[in-house]
Amino acid sequence: MSNLFPDTVLHTSALRREYAVGRESVVALGGVDISIQKGEFVAIMGPSGSGKSTLLNILGGLDRPTSGKVILDGHDLSAYNEEELAAIRRQKMGFIFQRHDLFPVLTARENIEFPMLLNDTSLEERRKQSTQLLNLVGLAEKADSLPEELSGGQQQRVGIARALANAASLLLADEPTGNLDSATSEDIIDSLIALKQSHNLTLIMVTHDSEVAAHADRILQLKDGHLIAGNGSAK
């Protein structure tokens, strides 16, 4: 498997994140070194408080490390300000949330088009892409439904489609099946893997579900902010 992923998309060195809680300092990440290759599916696992979501947030530029580096496509993320990081997220990344976090007053199509709108994509192009994405996730007939009119699984599919808007190459998913039943979870994971393969996506997923993690190319185990299993590098 090791020769399948020659390009490094994301690389961290000595990544550390501390939070001040009252007068004390809590170490969420205590020096993590990982390297993720293009097209890889990496699962991040660990018990509660192990730093999984913290790691994912830092990788996605949503949070800043206390020390250490995050290199994305050869660029050090610490050199960018908040607005520049937002632009990077807009253009290169897609986020899938556990609670879907669809915008409740926008339809499925409008939710999918939202990231494209942020990128000043034209209306025509947005329509075209959102239709393609809705077809891709099998929800063409639900284009004009509001999130409250969709099931949990359908909402997550819309979330996936939204994450793929703007032709994102890197997907970051935080417990995408956490709120779903096992059958739907299976369905979603299958869809994600299919999309990953068809679009050559890099997928980093935080999960506590070992069955989900079993689909990953690599599993990183975190405990108390440290990588305890799973090589930080690609196999």
């Binding site: 937002a86 632009a87 997220r89 949330f97 609670r99 976090d101 915008f103 926008l106």
Partner: protein, 926 residues
């Protein structure tokens, strides 16, 4: 355990605590401010009501030999009394000018000490001076007997063998002297027109002894109303010590009156001249309270709703805290206790802060005249003035906290623990009022109520001239229903309008803010219920500021018009009686700033039939240029509608015009125009002959004068009290033989500074030349009309405007902050998806613009409607009823500008909140 925990909940959640305290303080503050304002106004109204009372208490001796010379100083030393003067009153049987042929009928002599003239503002010397060896006589006596200063009069008293002769050293204006004639019994004052004032020392030396003997004679013939000798003590109380509330003030005055009697038991019987004024003030104060509270309470209700809204900002987190406590085993009783204690802390803090806001609002809005009297360090400061109101406002704060902060937790306690821990938005059923169309029902009630009110002739003052006007609660039914119904209708229509126009709204904001604007617009339209609630609160708050500003301007204008009506023009110049007037006297009054002058002749002794009436003589040409003559004063006497109205004693007269009526008078030398009231009384129609008997001062005879009725009026700007018959001046002069004018009306450019400077110029010009009285529209006091017309609405308006700006700005800020709070995850997700701050701000601006814009438009529209309704209902409290709104463009523009500035500031503050949004925290799972 509960107390310290509750205290920590309050002190360790500063943002939540501050938001709630501020919201509550805003509502309590406005309520307290209005109540305090009402208290201050009540005090002012009480003072206004008793201002015309010149002598507070008159103590009559029960026997003619009561020693009032010793009694007066004793009485003046009593607490609450500021002065007391001994006065003797005795009726003379006749008075005749030396070498005159016509004795006057009986009159009254008052013997006073010289200090009396400084102590009591009852007698005004219009000519001459008070001399210890002479007499002052009333103007009426001077006219009827043609007596001038320097003449002598001879007075005859019952029981005194020889008449007494005195030189006339001065002439008195008795306009303010009615109180002199108060009797010892409850009978109405019997005012006497022939009055002589002498020095008490002279009286004691010449008349006291024989009059005492005569009055003490048990066999003396007692003529009802005739006073042989009445020793009196006139008392002035210290009005600074009077409570502000007229009921309490009446009790205080009554207590003083009884105290005076107790000082000399059996010797003095006192009458209180203040009780009538307090009685009128009670009605006025109650009406003012109703008016003020009605005008201000909706603002309070809106501020209270806003504070509830602010409490709801943190309701979700509070519910989750409670659910956690329950998960950990806390019982409902323990949780209830915690919430109750927390609520008490918040209620006390918020209410106290609110009382402080209320005092500050009062000081800021009530003006210097009021605040100068509100010095808490002065010994005369009435602490009771605000105690009740402070207590009521404080209680209101407790009740509001109970409703907004405490009650909702019971709902939370009843629901399942797990349900409370969820953060999913609840789906709420359509509210009851919407399902039952309560908005339309209430508006229907308002229309019906207005129709019934108008069918009953509308709200009219009582038929008796001078009677107090009162407001009853029922007249506020219409605006109450209208306001409540409109509130709900606005809510319904805005929600419906927004929901139905999602694409149009999206398109509009796309043009403003780009593509993100379209999304924001659609998002707004799909959250119509929430948006419409914010629009309704802000719009209605604004509407009350607008309606009160318009009502206040109209009210102020009507006050001005009423004053102009009383004065007759900008100034009224009244030279002393018998003052020689050159033919060019009118020209002498044409000082810089004067536009025109007209002289008015007056005959106060004229007879219509056998009744005494005052007849005025005007020069139509100059009068038309000078006097205040709105067409609304006149009716078309020839119109069948007017004739029907006069026949049926309704007031549905056909409107006339000043020009029509005055032209008719100018074209008919012996014409007379008559008030509709007198025309109805004497059954006179236009065209009828009217016989007047004018008093000729040269011959002291009456001259019969045949006139012809040529027009009718409702009001006429000569004297508000007695102008019912107006004839041509030349005709009057010819008939009466008296050429001097009674007074002159002067018209200026209308500017207050011109009027003020002319007043002082004329005063200076005639200071040592002749006694004059100069009134202008600023100095006139309406003694017979309700003090409801003299309310300081300006102060209430200023307070309401201040609160409008604050509540509108705060309302928008609270709503926008609530929006950000509720949608933190959404905004977090947007940031995660790559939205920058600019994108998020455009969402905020879209909502702010929609809410602000809709609120401004709806608020101004509803405000104008409400003002119109208020003017329709309350306009008749003035002598000249208001029928239209007066527009205060500057005030409205300023209000709008401040409101917009406040909104912009709110948006700026909430935009800052967006920039501090932490994505990771927003997206964190609980």
């Amino acid at each position: 355990m509960i107390l310290p925990y509750a205290w920590k909940l309050v002190t360790r959640n500063p943002r939540r605590t501050f938001t709630y305290l501020f919201g509550l303080a805003l509502a309590v503050g406005l309520f307290a401010g209005i109540l305090f304002f009402v208290d201050v106004t009540a005090r002012q109204m009480t003072a206004t009501a008793i201002a015309p009372v010149k002598i507070d208490i008159i103590a009559h001796g029960t026997k003619p030999d009561v020693n009032i010379t010793d009694a007066a100083p004793t009485i003046s030393m009593q607490r609450g009394v500021s002065a007391a003067e001994p006065v003797y009153a005795a009726d003379f049987q006749s008075a005749v000018k030396t070498n005159g042929a016509h004795p006057s009928p009986a009159g009254r002599m008052f013997a006073i000490q010289p200090s009396y003239l400084q102590t009591f503002d009852v007698l005004q010397i219009s000519e001459g001076k008070f001399d210890s060896s002479g007499a002052l006589i009333s103007e009426a006596m001077a006219i009827s007997q043609n007596i001038k200063v320097g003449d002598s009069i001879q007075l005859t008293f019952g029981g005194v063998n020889n008449p007494v002769t005195l030189p006339v050293t001065g002439i008195l204006n008795m306009d303010n002297a009615d109180a002199l004639f108060a009797t010892a019994t409850e009978a109405e004052n019997a005012i006497v027109s022939d009055v002589v004032i002498v020095d008490q020392g002279w009286f004691r030396a010449n008349l006291l002894q024989p009059l005492t003997t005569a009055a003490s004679d048990p066999n003396a013939t007692v003529i009802p109303g005739f006073i042989l000798l009445d020793p009196q003590v006139h008392v002035r109380i210290n009005r600074d010590l009077l409570p502000g509330d007229p009921t309490l003030a009446a009790l205080h005055a009554e207590s003083l009156r009884r105290g005076v009697e107790r000082l000399f038991p059996g010797q003095l019987k006192s009458s209180d001249n203040l009780s009538g004024a307090f009685k009128a003030a009670k009605g006025d104060v109650l009406s003012a309270k109703i008016l003020f509270i009605f005008l201000g309470l909706p603002g309070v209700a809106l501020a209270a709703y806003l504070s509830k809204f602010a409490a709801e900002l943190f309701a979700e987190s509070q519910r989750r805290e409670i659910s956690l406590l329950r998960t950990r085993g806390a019982t409902p009783a323990q949780i209830t206790s915690i919430v109750a204690v927390t609520s008490v802390f918040l209620a006390i803090g918020g209410s106290l802060l609110g009382l402080l806001f209320g005092i500050l609002a009062l000081y800021a809005s009530a003006g210097a005249q009021v605040t100068a009297a509100l010095n808490p360090f002065a010994s005369t400061f009435d602490w009771n003035l605000f105690t009740n109101s402070a207590g009521i406002a404080f209680l209101a704060g407790l009740v509001l906290t109970f409703l907004a902060a405490f009650l909702p937790t019971f709902g939370a306690l009843r629901r399942e623990i797990t349900q409370e821990r969820r953060t999913v938005r609840r789906v709420e059923a359509e509210p009851f009022w919407k399902r039952s169309y309560l908005d339309f029902i209430l508006i229907g009630f308002a229309i019906i109520s207005l129709y019934i009110t108008q069918l009953n002739g509308g709200f009219k003052p009582s038929g008796n001239e001078g009677a107090a006007i009162t407001l009853s609660l029922y007249i506020f039914l219409t605006p109450f229903f209208a306001w409540t119904g409109l509130t709900l209708l606005v809510l319904r229509l805005v929600e419906k309008g927004l929901s139905a126009s999602s694409n149009q709204i999206g398109g509009f904001f796309r043009r403003l803010f780009g593509e993100i604007g379209e999304v924001a617009g659609k998002s707004l339209a799909r959250r119509a219920a929430r948006i419409s609630a914010a629009v309704t609160i802000i719009a209605l708050t604004l509407s009350f500021g607008v309606s009160l500003a318009l009502f206040q301007k109209t009210y102020t204008n009507e006050k001005q018009l009423d004053a102009q009506y009383v004065v007759g023009s900008d100034l009224r110049f009244t030279p002393a009686l018998n003052t020689p007037q050159n033919a060019d006297f009118t020209t002498q009054l044409q000082l810089p700033g004067v536009v025109s002058v007209t002289g008015v002749a007056r005959d106060p002794l004229a007879l219509v039939g056998s009744e005494k009436n005052t007849v005025y003589g005007i020069d139509v040409v100059s009068f038309s240029k000078t006097a205040y003559l709105p067409d609304s004063f006149f009716v078309d006497g020839n119109a069948p509608q007017t004739i029907d109205a006069m026949t049926n004693r309704t007031t549905n007269y056909a409107p006339g015009s000043a020009k029509q009526v005055l032209d008719a008078l100018a074209n008919t030398p012996n014409g007379v125009i008559i008030s509709v009231e007198q025309a109805e009384k004497y059954n006179i129609r236009v065209g009828d002959p009217v016989l007047l008997r004018l008093y000729n001062r040269s011959t002291n005879q009456y001259t019969d004068v045949q006139t012809q009725a040529v027009g009718l009026f409702i009001y006429f700007p000569t004297s508000a009290q007695d102008s019912d018959f107006i004839i041509n001046r030349d005709f009057m002069v010819k008939s009466s033989g008296y050429e001097a004018m009674n007074y002159f009306l002067i018209k200026t450019d209308g500017k207050p500074q011109t009027i003020a400077s002319l007043t002082s110029d004329l005063t200076a010009q005639y200071k040592n030349v002749m006694p004059v009285r100069i009134q202008n529209i600023d100095t006139v006091v309406k003694t017979e009309s309700s003090s409801l017309t003299s309310l300081n609405l300006g102060g209430l308006g200023a307070m309401e405007r201040l609160y409008t700006i604050v509540v509108v700005s705060m309302g928008l800020a609270i709503f926008l902050l609530a929006m950000i709070n509720e949608r933190q995850r959404e905004f977090g997700a947007m940031r995660a998806l790559g939205a920058n701050l600019n994108h998020l701000r455009r969402f905020l601006f879209t909502e702010a613009l929609a809410i602000g814009g809709l609120s401004l438009v709806i608020g101004v529209g509803v405000g104008i409607l409400l003002a119109r309704l208020l003017v329709l209902l309350l306009g008749v409290i003035f002598t000249i009823p208001a029928h239209t709104l007066s527009w205060d463009w500057l005030g409205l523009t300023t209000l709008a500008a401040f409101v917009v500035a406040g909104m912009i500031l709110s948006v700026g503050i909430t935009a800052r909140r967006l920039s501090t949004l932490k994505v990771v925290e927003a997206l964190r799972e609980l």
